[in-house]
C-alpha cells in the first residue's frame, strides 16, 4: 500500500541532494600543474639574484615589486637594467643624454622600490643595438637566477601578442623567467 508522507518526501529530497552535492564536489578537480610550473619562487634552491629590465613604464615598477616578493621571506638581490637601443645609424658609444636620463630615472625608481622591500639592487645602464640582447648579456655576466619582465597590455602590438622583447627573452634566456 502506498503511503505518501510529507516528512518522508522531504527526507528523500534532503538525502538525494546531499549525495548529489558530495559527488559534485568530489569530481571537481584542479588541473595538473607540470613540474616546471610547480617549482614555486620560494624554491629550496632559493632565488638569490633576479634581473628586472627597467623602463619608465609602471609595469616595470610592478615587476620590481613582484621580484622582491618572490624571495618568500628571503629578499633576493636585484639587478636592474635599462637598455638604450642605439640605432644602426649611430655609433654604439654615441652620446644619448635624453635617453640616458630617462633610463637613470627609471633605474632610480626601481632602486627606491627595492629598498622599500628590503632588497639590495644593482643598476646597469647599457647601450646596445638590441634591448633583449642587452638584457641577456647582463643576465649572463651577473649569473642571475631569473628574469622578471613587466609588460603592459597597452604596449603590446595590436595583434595582442607579447612584444618582440618578451618573445626574444623567452627564446634565448637560459634561466627561468616570469612574464
Amino acid at each position: 500500500m502506498v503511503r505518501l508522507d510529507p516528512w518522508g518526501i522531504l527526507l528523500a529530497v534532503v538525502f538525494a541532494a546531499s549525495l548529489a552535492g558530495i559527488y559534485y564536489w568530489m569530481l571537481r578537480l584542479s588541473p595538473v600543474r607540470p613540474p616546471r610550473a610547480a617549482r614555486k619562487p620560494g624554491s629550496a634552491e632559493g632565488l638569490p639574484r633576479i634581473l628586472v629590465p627597467m623602463t619608465d613604464a609602471v609595469s616595470s615598477q610592478r615587476a620590481v615589486e613582484l621580484a622582491c616578493r618572490l624571495g618568500d621571506g628571503h629578499p633576493p638581490e636585484l639587478v636592474l637594467v635599462h637598455v638604450v637601443e642605439v640605432p644602426d645609424t649611430m655609433l654604439l658609444d654615441a652620446a644619448m643624454p635624453d635617453r640616458d636620463n630617462l633610463g637613470r630615472e627609471a633605474l632610480e625608481m626601481g632602486r627606491v622600490i627595492a629598498r622599500r622591500y628590503g632588497c639590495q639592487a644593482r643598476t646597469y645602464l647599457v647601450h646596445h643595438r638590441n634591448a633583449a640582447q642587452g638584457v641577456l648579456q647582463v643576465a649572463d655576466e651577473e649569473s642571475v637566477d631569473a628574469i622578471v619582465l613587466g609588460e603592459s597590455v597597452k604596449n603590446r602590438p595590436a595583434s595582442g601578442e607579447w612584444s618582440k622583447m618578451s618573445v626574444k627573452l623567452q627564446r634565448r634566456a637560459q634561466g627561468d623567467g616570469w612574464l
Partner: protein
C-alpha cells in the same frame, strides 16, 4: 711505454634487473569506488544484525558508530594524502611508532582483509544462491556432516572457494582490470542503493512507526552496546583507498576528496537505511531476515516490491563480490608493503614481470582467505564467525592508526599535509616548535578503544581467534627478524626523508615535494647545518 692496441673481447653484460614498481592507474572515480566497494557492501551484512541487536535504537547505534567512523576516516585522509604509499595503516604505524608496532598494525589489518575476502565471498554467493530455486536446486540438499563437523554446506563452500580463486586471477592480471570492475559495478550499486532509500521514504515510510520503536523498543544498555559494536562493521573498509594510494594518479589531490566523499556518503546511506527500515518494518522482522535484510526491506516498497527480491539479490551479490575483490587487493598490497620494509620475508615482494602486480602476495593470501573461509564453514554460523574476527582486526588496527597520527604530528611535522584533521590545539615544544595536537584523533582513539573493548567482551569467537591470530603473526615476526639478523624490538635504520622524497616524486606531487624540501632546508638552517636538500 709503447701503447699497444688490443681488441677487447665483447662482453655480454647481463641486463641489470631494475626494481619493478607498482604502476599508477587509478582515477578519482576509481579511487572512490575502490573504497565504496569495500564499505558499501557492509550494510548488506550489517543492517539486519545491527537492527536485530539495537532494536529501536538502531539509528542511534549507526549514528554513534558513524561518528567514530568519520574520525577514523579523517585520520586516514590526512595520513594517506601525506604518505601516498601502499601500506596504509601498517605504513603509518611503522613511521609513527616503529617496526614492531608497524607489524602489529599490519597483522591486524591483514586479518581484516583476509576475513573481508572470505566474509564477502560467502555473503555474495549467498545472494547468488537466491536464484537456485529457479533452477530447481535447493541449497539445503547439499548440507553434509564432515567428521566432527555437522551441517557443512559443500555447495556454498565450493562456490565461495571458486569465487576467491577467480578474484585472485583477476588481481594478478593487473589493477586496471580490477579497477574497471569496481568503477562500473560501483556506479550501478550506488544508484540502486539510493533508489531503495528514496523510494522507501517517498512511498512507504511511516514516521509514527519509527517514533514508536524508538520510544517503546529501545534496548537495554548491554544490548545497545552489542549493536553499537556491530554497527562499526558497516563502516569498515575506508582504508582501501589508502591501499590504492600508491597507484592513484595525483594521490595528494585525489585521496582527500575521495576519502571525505566516501566517509559522508556511506554515513548518509547507513543512516538512510536504518531510518527507512524502522519506518517501514518492525525490528523483529529484520532479526528474522538477517541474512538478506536489504532484499527483505526492498520487497516491502510499493511498486518495487515485485522485482525487489531478485533485484536486491543481484545488487547484493555484485557489491559483495566487489568487496571481496577489494579484500584480495588490500591483503596483497599490504603484505607487499610489509615485505618492502622487512617486516615479512622478501618472497612477498616479488612483482610479476609482465603484469607488474605483487603476484606472490596475491597467491599467498588468496589461499589464506580460502583456508579461513573453510574453517568458518565448519563452525555453527559462518557469517557470525567471520564478522567477529572482522570487528577485532578493524578496531585494533584503527587504534594504532590514531596513535600514529598523533605521534607523527610531533616526529614528522615537515611532511606536507594536503589535508589536516580539523580541531587542533597548538602545543609549544621546548625547542620552540608549535605542534598541532589533533583533538578529534584523541576522541576517535577513545571511541574506537571503547568499541574494541566491547568487541572483546561481547564477541565470543573474536576474543579468542583474534588474539590467537596476532600471537601467531608475532611469533613469525620474531622468527623472521632473528633469522635475518634484524632487531625484534628495535627498528631497521631508514632514511625516511629520502623515502618521502621518492614517494612524492613517484606520485608526481611536485608542489608538495618543493614544499617538503623547503621545510627541511629551513629546519637545517635553524640547526646551523648544511642541508643536503639545498640545490636538489
Amino acid at each position: 711505454m709503447a701503447a699497444t692496441a688490443v681488441a677487447l673481447p665483447r662482453i655480454q653484460v647481463a641486463a641489470q634487473s631494475q626494481p619493478v614498481e607498482l604502476r599508477r592507474d587509478v582515477t578519482i572515480w576509481g579511487s572512490y569506488t575502490w573504497g565504496y566497494a569495500d564499505v558499501g557492501a557492509d550494510i548488506y551484512v550489517a543492517l539486519g544484525l545491527v537492527i536485530g541487536a539495537a532494536q529501536g535504537g538502531a539509528p542511534l547505534a549507526f549514528a554513534l558508530a558513524g561518528l567514530v567512523y568519520i574520525m577514523i576516516g579523517l585520520a586516514f585522509t590526512e595520513l594517506s594524502s601525506a604518505y601516498p604509499v601502499a601500506g596504509g595503516g601498517q605504513y603509518y604505524s611503522l613511521r609513527g611508532l616503529g617496526d614492531l608496532w608497524g607489524f602489529t598494525a599490519g597483522a591486524a589489518l591483514l586479518l581484516d582483509y583476509t576475513i573481508d575476502i572470505g566474509l564477502f565471498a560467502v555473503a555474495s554467493t549467498g545472494y547468488i544462491n537466491f536464484f537456485l530455486p529457479y533452477l530447481g536446486i535447493h541449497l539445503e540438499d547439499f548440507v553434509y556432516a564432515l567428521g566432527p563437523f555437522p551441517n557443512v554446506n559443500v555447495l556454498w563452500l565450493g562456490e565461495t572457494v571458486t569465487m576467491i580463486l577467480a578474484l585472485r586471477w583477476l588481481n594478478v592480471r593487473g589493477i586496471r582490470e580490477s579497477s574497471m570492475v569496481n568503477e562500473v559495478i560501483g556506479a550501478i550499486d550506488l544508484c540502486m542503493e539510493m533508489s531503495i532509500v528514496v523510494f522507501g521514504l517517498v512511498l512507504a515510510w511511516n514516521p509514527d512507526l519509527l517514533l514508536q520503536q524508538w520510544t517503546l523498543e529501545f534496548p537495554e544498555p548491554h544490548r545497545f552496546m552489542y549493536g553499537f559494536s556491530l554497527a562499526i562493521i558497516s563502516f569498515v573498509g575506508l582504508e582501501s583507498i589508502s591501499q590504492a594510494a600508491q597507484e592513484t594518479r595525483r594521490p595528494a589531490t585525489i585521496i582527500p576528496r575521495t576519502s571525505i566523499a566516501l566517509i559522508f556518503t556511506v554515513f548518509i546511506l547507513a543512516m538512510g537505511f536504518s531510518v527507512v527500515g524502522l519506518g517501514i518494518l518492525p525490528w523483529q522482522e529484520f532479526r528474522a531476515h538477517d541474512s538478506d535484510p536489504v532484499a527483505y526491506l526492498a520487497s516491502h516498497i510499493p511498486y518495487l516490491g515485485v522485482i525487489a527480491g531478485p533485484f536486491a539479490a543481484f545488487l547484493g551479490a555484485t557489491i559483495l563480490f566487489i568487496s571481496s575483490n577489494t579484500g584480495v587487493m588490500g591483503a596483497s598490497r599490504l603484505i607487499f608493503s610489509m615485505s618492502h620494509f622487512r617486516l615479512v620475508g622478501t618472497w612477498f615482494n616479488h612483482v610479476h614481470p609482465k603484469y607488474r602486480t605483487p603476484s606472490n602476495a596475491l597467491t599467498a593470501f588468496g589461499w589464506v582467505g580460502i583456508a579461513l573461509t573453510v574453517i568458518a564453514f565448519l563452525t555453527p554460523s559462518v557469517l557470525d564467525t567471520l564478522a567477529n574476527l572482522y570487528a577485532f582486526g578493524a578496531t585494533l588496527g584503527y587504534m594504532l592508526v590514531f596513535v600514529s597520527l598523533i605521534r607523527l604530528r610531533f616526529t614528522d611535522p615537515y611532511t606536507p599535509r594536503p589535508y589536516k584533521v580539523p580541531l587542533n590545539v597548538p602545543w609549544k615544544q621546548k625547542d620552540g616548535r608549535v605542534v598541532d595536537v589533533p583533538v578529534l584523533a584523541i576522541l576517535g582513539l577513545l571511541g574506537v578503544s571503547s568499541i574494541f573493548i566491547t568487541v572483546i567482551i561481547t564477541h565470543e569467537i573474536g576474543r579468542i581467534a583474534g588474539p590467537a591470530w596476532m600471537l601467531v603473526c608475532l611469533a613469525y615476526y620474531a622468527w623472521y627478524r632473528r633469522k635475518n639478523g634484524l632487531p625484534i624490538l628495535g627498528n631497521v635504520p631508514r632514511d625516511w626523508e629520502q623515502e618521502q622524497v621518492n614517494v612524492m616524486t613517484s606520485a608526481e606531487e611536485f608542489e608538495l615535494l618543493e614544499e617538503y624540501k623547503q621545510a627541511l632546508v629551513r629546519r637545517d638552517k635553524e640547526r646551523g647545518i648544511k642541508s643536503r636538500w639545498e640545490g636538489r
